[in-house]
Symmetry: C2
Subunit: 324 residues, 2 copies
């Protein structure tokens, strides 16, 4: 009994301390920050009409452009280019064949201009032909040193500090944080736990087909050269329903590809939080929206304005973009 | 500091109490019980060479025949029959058309003899034509009162008490428990949290296709009349890899359909636990293995014997089968 009383008191004191300190120090005061804080406070307060039980506190985040940068190309594309270069010695014919030639010359624009088919070809050669354990190790090794072609920063350091704080803040309040990305599920899982604190089982993304085989008595999962599921647009609420089986109570995205996920979240009963990250800071990051080929935010921006979802103004709302 | 010290002491005392009391009271002493306890103790002891960090403690369970009964037919089949009866007034032609006629007459053997195509037809009419929220409610209402045709028990009470204890014991020691079943994912999720303490996001199963639509401004996920993924045999390790992205450290099954999942688990590094539930109690439950149409355990039994996996002898190892 004595122990229990002390323990309760300790917990209460910790909670009090947590609520007194600023959980989002990299956010300037304003409606964006206040909307996030209000949502958490009202949904975790048992006395509130908007209280959400802990097991229903599911929050989904897009990855590219929402948790880390996505310009001038999705970072997975940098992985693809690096991997094609790495594999090139085994394929001398690539020097004369597109889209490999452009990839080997580092001509990103050339590859992108070759179209979706070319991109799929490069994705397949760079992501398949090995088993799942081997691919995991390839990505783990790559992310340690991969750098951005323009900033020179490590890619894993081009994550948004204000969003890392949102992830921590939500988890500290009993929310379960998920990634729901168009990026490859096997490309993200090797590093999301270290970088975002999101374990592999809470990462949903696009998939290539795979095959189970017993090779010399050892079971393996082989990564096969065929697209299985492209997790974008309406595929996002569908994969949320399949993988999680609960409707999220909050959703964060940055592009039209996230719109259906935000709509699906918004249509749930009770208090909901829908947030669009608006890339409008050309000095500290990039500025793009309605006309961008990557991370286009056009229909989504209209709907967010119309429905009064939170639109994060990166330039005004965020004290800093990246961690120190 | 005082609070912290008391709290640590309290935690220590609780842990000590937990380890002194029997975590598996419905299990008779013997090698099966001891194998489970040894596995948990050695993998959660930081001083052990077999210690497994908490985030890697993933355990997978088959459902039918592993967590609840599956005779004389999978319980989902009882749902299908009930639902066909419920829908019959809207389909007068079913009275004269197979496999509906057999289903309406309660002729389970007749339906099963009509083959896999007939079963799929009945699955589709009973599981589709509504949105995901509506189907969830249908299953929730059904499971409350659905009874077994032979025992007269509520189906939700035909779960194995010794396995409920294993689930609790593993979770109390930081393991994350998953269902990986051939049963329908949307059929299981509405009740697994209440009955097994397993939340929807930790339930993996077979899926029908679904479609995202905005109907009069409201986004819906519609359940479509087409099979998408049948989660049996090699599909189990593949879905584990897709949904969880980590290899399990322990796996429980009861049929050949679980063999690939157990093999995949066994092939991981470090200490692993593979368990087959062997149905050999014709008095308190059912006795079946190598020749059964439902839950056949033939190849799996050979491999379990060969590799010295745990084979639970339901008759000898379990003090009771169902909760009181």
């Amino acid at each position: 009994m004595v122990f229990l009383a002390s323990c309760d008191l300790q917990t209460k004191n910790q909670e009090k301390a947590a609520s007194l300190s600023d959980p989002l120090p990299s956010w300037n005061e304003g409606t964006s920050k206040q909307s996030v804080v209000d949502f958490v406070e009202v949904t975790t307060d048992t006395a509130s009409e908007f209280f959400i039980p802990k097991n229903e506190r599911i929050v989904v985040f897009d990855n590219d452009g929402t948790l880390w940068s996505e310009q001038p190309v999705y970072f997975q594309f940098i992985f693809i280019m690096d991997r094609v270069r790495q594999l090139a010695p085994e394929h001398p014919e690539w020097k004369e064949t597109q889209p490999f030639k452009a990839a080997l010359e580092g001509d990103m624009d050339g590859v992108i201009k070759s179209g979706a088919g070319a991109l799929l070809t490069l994705t397949i050669v760079s992501h398949t032909g090995m088993n799942s354990d081997e691919f995991e190790q390839i990505v783990k090794d790559w992310i340690k040193t991969a750098r951005h072609p323009q900033t020179g920063k490590l890619l894993k350091e081009m994550v948004y500090q204000p969003m890392l704080e949102v992830l921590d803040y939500l988890r500290a309040n009993g929310f379960k944080t998920y990634i729901v990305s168009g990026g490859g599920i096997d490309f993200m899982r090797p590093w999301t736990e270290e970088i975002y604190g999101i374990p592999p089982e809470q990462v949903i993304g696009s998939t290539l087909k795979s095959q189970f085989e017993i090779v010399e008595g050892v079971p393996e999962i082989l990564k096969m050269p065929e697209m299985e599921y492209f997790n974008d647009k309406e595929a996002k609420p569908l994969s949320i329903n399949k993988f999680i089986g609960r409707r999220p109570v909050a959703a964060f995205g940055n592009s039209d590809g996230d719109l259906n996920m935000l709509q699906w979240t918004a249509a749930g009963e009770g208090k909901r939080l829908m947030v669009y990250i608006h890339h409008n800071d050309s000095v500290r990051e990039w500025a793009y929206d309605r006309d961008s080929n990557i991370g286009r935010l056009n229909k989504g921006l209209d709907e967010a304005l119309d429905k009064e979802w939170v639109i994060v103004d990166m330039k005004e709302d965020w004290k800093k973009i990246f961690p120190e």
